[in-house]
């Protein structure tokens, strides 16, 4: 990893107090490229992402964003710097334009169309009822909406889990474009093929603990066979 990390996690324990999901997680997440977060179901991947956006707080431990504890940031400022795309795209009532304006209330149509073009949605969809969009279109609209706050990191929680192959590839390509433009992407996936297509770095979580973190070639020769299996080592 080159340059300062986006997030520094140290001793993070999170989840319900009586049954934590993440245990003593310490890792630095890079401020560039695509970092895939992989692991079996229930290993705490989504919980980790929610902590980074501060939708939840850890029970103990510390998460620093740009060197400062996330609890010391104004939550609204922090979240505008850290975009988030959910597995189920949350659609707000109204048109696509209305949805985009939730992120940017003064958005004019010219900028809105540019935002849609960035995610390969037609300008004509601006006036469409957002609830009528297909799964892939809805996810792309949500990505466009998240990008309107000009985040430096985008958190993606299995964003293609319910999409077909074409829509999945389209979202993956967008993530790559964003990473090339300097926006770090942290992408939760349980799909090993996808992981191998998109990841610059891989964080493997097993039972809420960091099993490994590094570049994909390092994971392919990892000592732990479970890590090799999770990353789909050849």
């Amino acid at each position: 990893m080159t340059g300062p990390p986006a997030f520094e996690l140290s001793g993070v324990v999170a989840g319900p107090v009586e049954r934590p999901i993440l245990h003593d997680v310490s890792v630095d997440l890079p401020a560039s490229g695509v970092t895939a977060v992989a692991g079996p179901s229930g290993s705490g991947k989504s919980s980790l992402l929610r902590l980074l956006n501060r939708l939840d707080d850890p029970i103990s431990g510390e998460i620093r964003w740009q060197g400062l504890d996330v609890r010391r940031w104004e939550p609204t400022d922090l979240r505008r710097q850290i975009g988030m795309v959910f597995q189920r795209p949350p659609i707000f009532p109204g048109t696509v334009r209305d949805n985009l304006r939730v992120a940017s209330p003064t958005l004019d149509d010219e900028r809105a169309e540019a935002a849609l073009a960035q995610v390969q949605l037609a300008p004509a969809s601006l006036g469409a009822d957002a609830t009528t969009l297909s799964g892939g279109e809805a996810q792309r609209m949500c990505l466009a909406r998240a990008l309107l706050t000009q985040p430096t990191v985008v958190l993606a929680d299995e964003p293609t889990a319910s999409l077909d192959n074409a829509a999945t590839r389209s979202i993956e390509e967008l993530a790559r474009v964003l990473a090339d433009e300097g926006v770090a992407v942290i992408w939760v996936t349980h799909d090993t093929d996808q992981l191998r297509r998109i990841a610059d770095h891989v964080l493997v979580l097993v039972e809420g603990r960091v099993a490994s973190f590094g570049h994909l070639p390092e994971m392919d020769v990892h000592d732990d066979p479970l890590v090799r299996q999770i990353v789909g080592a050849p």
Binding site: P75, T76, F86, A146
Partner: protein, 268 residues
């Protein structure tokens, strides 16, 4: 006494149905029981129990009202009555919506706020004289009519926070404040609670003749004077429901989020 109440009182006759009249009206309870028996509804015991409860409760209230309606009695009796009424309303609300966080203190504050606003207007502008016989019934209208709407809006808010969690967190994740993220749900819940009262107000005189007006007319008051009193009561109820639901909604909305603007996890 204000001119309006003077006018109502002056036109009021002395209709006294007496114990015999009361007993005769009880025949109508017998009619209801008869219908239940005829159609095998199994509601006879409930009907009789309800009628008996109403009789005992109202007789007790009638006796207790003597403490406050006499102009020579201290207004402190009325104040005490209001405190008991407020406490009971808070307890009832908390019992009906126990899953809502901090429902007891929030409902007490809401009812008290509505009372201050609405009774403040009515007494402040001299619509009614500040006497026990006006304070207690009007406060009763405030609390009694706001209770259902308060329970409704409280439950609705909690359901929105639970069912629409993904959408609310979607807005939070875009950098909206907790208040802004929850605003559409707050608005919808308030509308749900207020619309029935608005519809009731619209239907007055066409579909229903309200109780207070019927009571005044049966008591011998001039119908046009009874209408004016009834209208002021209707507006009082409308203002009370709006104030109570607005105050409790804001209170509950704040309780739904942490200081870090995170949506709390609650059992609905």
């Amino acid at each position: 006494m204000t001119p309006r109440l003077d006018a109502v009182a002056a036109t009021a006759g002395s209709v006294d149905i007496g114990l015999a009249g009361l007993a005769a009206s009880g025949i109508l309870v017998g009619v209801a029981v008869g219908v239940s028996l005829w159609r095998h509804l199994g509601l006879e015991r409930s009907l009789l129990w309800a009628a008996l409860r109403a009789l005992v409760q109202l007789l007790l209230v009638g006796w207790a009202l003597h403490l406050v309606v006499d102009p020579d009695d201290s207004l402190w009796w009325s104040a005490l009555w209001l405190v008991v009424m407020l406490g009971f309303a808070g307890w009832t609300t908390a019992r009906r919506a126990p899953e809502v966080p901090a429902i007891l203190p929030l409902s007490l504050v809401s009812y008290a706020s509505a009372g201050l606003v609405t009774l403040g207007v009515l007494f402040g502008f001299g619509v009614y004289p500040l006497e026990g016989r006006t304070i207690v019934p009007l406060a009763g209208m405030v609390v009694g009519n706001s209770l259902a709407a308060t329970v409704l809006v409280s439950r609705r808010l909690l359901a929105e926070a639970t069912d629409q969690r993904g959408v609310i967190e979607g807005r939070l994740a875009l950098g909206l404040s907790a208040a802004a993220a929850f605003q559409p749900h707050l608005r919808e819940s308030l509308r749900t609670a207020l619309v029935p009262q608005i519809e009731t107000t619209k239907a007055v005189g066409i579909v229903v003749l309200p109780g207070a007006m019927v009571g005044l007319i049966l008591g011998g008051a001039d119908p046009s004077e009874a209408v004016k009193v009834q209208l002021s009561v209707m507006y009082l109820v409308l203002g009370s429901v709006a104030t109570t639901t607005a105050v409790i909604s804001l209170g509950i909305s704040r309780k739904l989020f942490t200081p870090g603007q995170q949506l709390r996890r609650l059992e609905s």
